[in-house]
Amino acid sequence: MSFTFSAELEPKIGALLLRYPTRRAALLPVLRLIQDEHGHISADAERRVAEILDLTPINVREVVTFYTMLTRSPVGRFHLQVCSNVSCGLAGGDRVSAYLQAKLGVRPGETTPDGKYTLTEVECLGACDEAPCMMVNFDFYGHLEAARVDEILDGLA
């Protein structure tokens, strides 16, 4: 199976390439664009990216596997990323994770059978003044407790 970039992606990638003196430097931004559109980075996508950036497939694979936010397998429609570091822990972050695990019936790293939610425990999100906090896809939510978590999940369409 081959991978083709969508009509929206092509010009964005072209614009990115103008920013750097090497094609390789556009790798992270290009991978982010693909993941934002497809939800993950497939092996076909990796090979296609390697082609357009004059890289070998392993140059792409080693980068995809290095960075926590890049994923090779599909995640749920809503990726719940709960902070598990010290500042959030001091404010009840572990409780938030435990509550989500019980509510969704998944452990960290797992996706609900309907494909709606993936739960991940992540390191510090840089929002410790609103601890405990989590990101849902790219949106931040702070001051979490059970009722607030219920409310947030109810609001996700």
Binding site: A25, L27, F66, R95, C124, G126, C128, D129, D139
Partner: protein, 424 residues
Amino acid sequence: MMADLILTRGLKSEPSVRLSAYLERGGYQALRTALTQWTPEKVIDEVKTASLRGRGGAGFPAGLKWSFVPRTTDKPKYLCVNADEGEPGTFKDRFLMTHDPHLLIEGAVIAAYAVGIHAGYIYIRGEYEAVARRLDEAIAEAYAHGVLGKNILGRGFDFDLWVHRGAGAYICGEETAMLESLEGKRGVPRLKPPFPASVGLFGCPTVINNVETLACVPMIIRKGAAWFLENGRPKDGGTRLFSLSGAVQKPGVYELPAGTKLREIIFVHAGGLKPGAALKAVIPGGLSAPVLRADEIDVPMDVDALAAAGSMLGSSAVIVIDAATPMLSVLEKVAKFYEHESCGQCTPCRIGTSWIRRVVKRMIEHRGKAADLDLVLRLATNIKGRTLCPFGDAAALPILSIVRKFRTELEASLHSAGEKSFDA
């Protein structure tokens, strides 16, 4: 001494994100002054005199760093803004970029002018997508206003600036790992020397500065080095943004002079501990800083004083730990973090951090052995000083300090079947 606000003045009362608001506050005046009245050398000298030290963690003097870049070279030169704010407990750069993106842009253009740089990248951690979008908007405004791009303010100086998003790797906050990442590779630190000032991004001379460091520059130009020094310490000028989190009443970002006592920051500015909580320990400079006991907090928060106290100012992130929190659970989170974020390049760090994590995990799960604390000390000692980049020390030092300073408590928890989690 009542300090002036250098970084957060004007942010309390008005919406500050837009260029128009920034201009009303006197924004881009410093850039105009620098480009029209000052030589690049004078800018560097003023920043040197101001004793502006890096706000990212290492505390290196910014002006000195700029002066290491060759004045004339046949290669392009680059500016990298380190906005990869990943040090746990730290959220001040996010605050600055969210509320005052133009302050960073102005500081970056002045730095570029001083060093003779024509292209720069703001490397921002991938999780800060909303902040990155705000920066993109502010950069577009700056281009339209003629303070970025070709012939800035009609003075013949060109500088382009782009936002480059990371993708979740703490190590990319280390400057050479950031360069590798920007080049489209795994974020694996380089051996130094050569230093980035001579061989940096794309093999070219490169300046790497933290967001807050650059944000200090416009006010140094506008009000002078002497004024900046008055608001800090003789060898550590200006105010600092302290990120307060943990068991305090009022977590948040506080702008205070360098050298403010840690006790004052916690008990006066952050409102003291939450009701019913007593102080047990403080991590004073982000998770990588060795922990201080409750009786060690009468220390001025500047680079040298914290180093003398056996810790470090780091990113000025203060994490306050209350008496009810078991130190074993703090140790477990610290160990987990460094295991996850080790890039794997150096064996002592790659093996050591995961080994420490396994040992601490079995202690948490009541399977600990009597010799485990000594094993942790031995493993951490074997990481310290034996890695290519500062990550090894950043992992080893907090772990060593927690075990050494709280050994009695940790030993007691080893022998008891009591609760060891945060949520006891």
